[in-house]
């Protein structure tokens, strides 16, 4: 156990006992994650590569692609669409709130935050009633004459799903981006303005580039959240195509088929892959090495 105490010695701490103390403190939480997360994570990958006799096989992937290939694409579409639109809206909203000091801006800020902690199950129920063919949105649009009363908008598909994700994720990104913008000193903005920069240039050339890493993390987390969410598509998407998360539930609850469900799970890992690894690397590096 030399390595355990050498770190303590290196910074000149008293005695060797402290070398074990952090391990002891971390033991319950780390053990729990190892047993309840890492073990089933590994299991999901192993299971996806085994057939019913227990031997190595690609049959689950074959089934997953041939039965649910369309849905894998659908999941990617929704995630890309939702992430793109919510990021655009959030950047505009955050820049507006940062630069304007009117009461309206403050009001917009507090309203935009309301949804941050609402659970997806509540958002799903909300969207289910709001976006329904005879729901509040269609009623309002029909009474305003925008929508034909006999042919209301059908939204229990990619559009309604994306709207639900936007509703939940835009406040999240706005919150993160705005926290980044608020750290930037006013002098940067004043300096740019004094040499004749317009608002658009201040935002695009000064403010947003300064917080690029923060924006990147918010975007990545949003993408991963949208790909991973089961509740919203399960409760509001009618029929097919639907998301991979819904397919996994079907595979398990109707067929008790854990192997194809696991193969679909690996597809989810692959979809978030690059982004998830970027998030992990950056956060760990920042915490451990401070850059």
């Amino acid at each position: 156990m030399r390595s355990g105490s050498s770190a303590a010695e290196a910074r000149g701490a008293r005695g060797g006992t402290e070398g074990f103390l952090p391990w002891f403190l971390l033991l319950p939480a780390v053990t729990f994650i190892l047993v309840m997360y890492v073990y089933p994570f590994a299991l999901s990958i192993i299971r996806s590569f085994t057939d019913e006799t227990g031997s190595l096989s690609l049959v689950n992937y074959h089934k997953a692609v041939s039965l649910y290939g369309r849905d894998i694409l659908f999941s990617i579409q929704v995630a890309v669409l939702g992430t793109l639109i919510s990021t655009m809206l959030s950047l505009a909203l955050a820049a507006y709130i940062r630069l304007s000091n009117s009461r309206i801006a403050r009001l917009v800020n507090s309203m935009s935050r309301l949804g941050i902690f609402l659970p997806y199950v509540v958002v799903a129920q909300m969207m289910r009633s709001f976006l329904a063919p005879h729901g509040l949105l269609n009623v309002l649009l029909a009474n305003m004459g925008i929508v034909d009363i006999d042919a209301p908008l059908r939204l229990f598909n990619i559009w309604g799903l994306t709207f639900g994700f936007l509703w939940k994720e835009t406040p999240f990104i706005t919150f993160i981006v705005l926290s980044g913008l608020q750290v930037i000193d006013d002098t940067y903005i004043e300096a740019a303005r004094s040499v004749g920069a317009k608002t658009r240039q201040v935002v695009l050339r000064i403010l947003l580039p300064m917080i690029k890493p923060t924006i990147a993390i918010a975007v990545v987390l949003t993408f991963c959240t949208i790909v991973s969410t089961f509740t919203l598509p399960y409760m509001i998407v009618a029929g097919t195509p639907t998301t991979v998360t819904v397919d996994i539930a079907h595979r398990v609850t109707y067929f008790g088929d854990y192997r194809v469900a696991s193969a679909l799970g690996v597809f989810l890992y692959l979809i978030v892959g690059v982004m998830a690894i970027y998030y992990l690397r950056r956060t760990v590096r920042e915490e451990v090495y401070g850059y």
Binding site: V30, F41, R128, A142, F175, I217, F230, Y258, A276
Partner: protein, 275 residues
């Protein structure tokens, strides 16, 4: 002068749009929860009343209304959330203290463990735990659901606790140590009281996360453990009013939390972001 009015007009339009987008869906829930009869294409219900609220809260029992009392599910949810939160914080406070104050060997690897469940989808985890849980007799039981809730909440508990401890300047503890206080005494008498507000935020966040957890409970708890989100889901297909009542009950703690912690909540609580 013209541009100023133009600006105010644009801001006003933005305000209306944000107001409609935020409160449109919320008001849809509220209206449905008090709608007795609501025919298309009327903007508002023809008949409103609190019948579904009364039924859900157990104040009346009318067989004509398809809604049951929510108290059983509410009790299950509170039981699960209280036990999960207590166990999560018992593990998260020592872990957060270690991560904030010690030079932990293999720190990168340990951090990775606590970040992975946020980065990668958790649904395949629940699915792959189900056979093992069935074998151990945990599937469809309250202890099984509590274990799943701990899994979902633990990483948030560890992150928020770590950053709550980090926010306290280390000099205070060093001063206490230099006059002879033990590490245990310093933690208990100096750090813990100072970090208390952050730990409270962590506890409440974990509690609300457990209270509203859906996916894990869906796979591990159904059909025997009915928490409020499960009751909402099962009524959502056939009874819009009842489902809306439950959704509002679940929405209140999250909204209250948002309003109360506006000032102290920091972005690193939601993803280990330090930027």
């Amino acid at each position: 002068m013209g541009t100023k009015w133009q600006r105010v007009l644009l801001e006003g339009l933005l305000l209306c749009l944000v107001f409609f987008l935020v409160f449109g869906p919320i008001s849809s829930l509220v209206i449905w929860s008090i709608a007795i009869r609501w025919y298309w294409p009327h903007v508002l219900p023809q008949e409103i009343g609190l019948a579904y609220w009364k039924q859900a809260l157990g104040l009346q029992r009318d067989w004509a209304i398809a809604a049951v009392s929510i108290w059983d599910a509410f009790g299950t949810s509170i039981l699960v959330a209280v036990i999960s939160t207590a166990l999560v914080m018992t593990m998260a406070i020592p872990a957060g203290y270690a991560l904030a104050r010690f030079r932990v060997p293999l720190k990168a690897l340990i951090l990775l463990l606590f970040l992975m469940p946020k980065a990668f989808p958790q649904q395949p985890i629940f699915v792959n735990l189900l056979p093992a849980f069935t074998r151990w007799g945990l599937a469809g039981t309250v202890p099984g659901v509590i274990l799943i809730h701990i899994l979902v909440c633990l990483i948030f508990g560890v992150w928020i606790t770590t950053s709550a401890f980090k926010a306290i300047p280390q000099e205070l503890e060093e001063a206490a140590r230099s006059v002879g206080a033990t590490r245990w005494c310093t933690f208990w008498k100096v750090l813990l009281p100072l970090a208390a507000p952050g730990l409270l935020v962590s506890t409440v966040f974990v509690f609300i996360t457990s209270l509203t957890e859906f996916t894990g409970t869906f796979f591990i708890g159904l059909p025997f453990v009915t928490t409020l989100p499960m009751l909402l889901y099962s009524s959502s297909g056939y009874n819009m009013q009842f489902a809306s009542v439950i959704a509002i009950v679940l929405l209140i703690p999250s909204l209250l939390f948002m309003v109360l912690i506006q000032k102290v909540f920091r972005p690193e609580y939601m993803g280990g972001i330090t930027g």
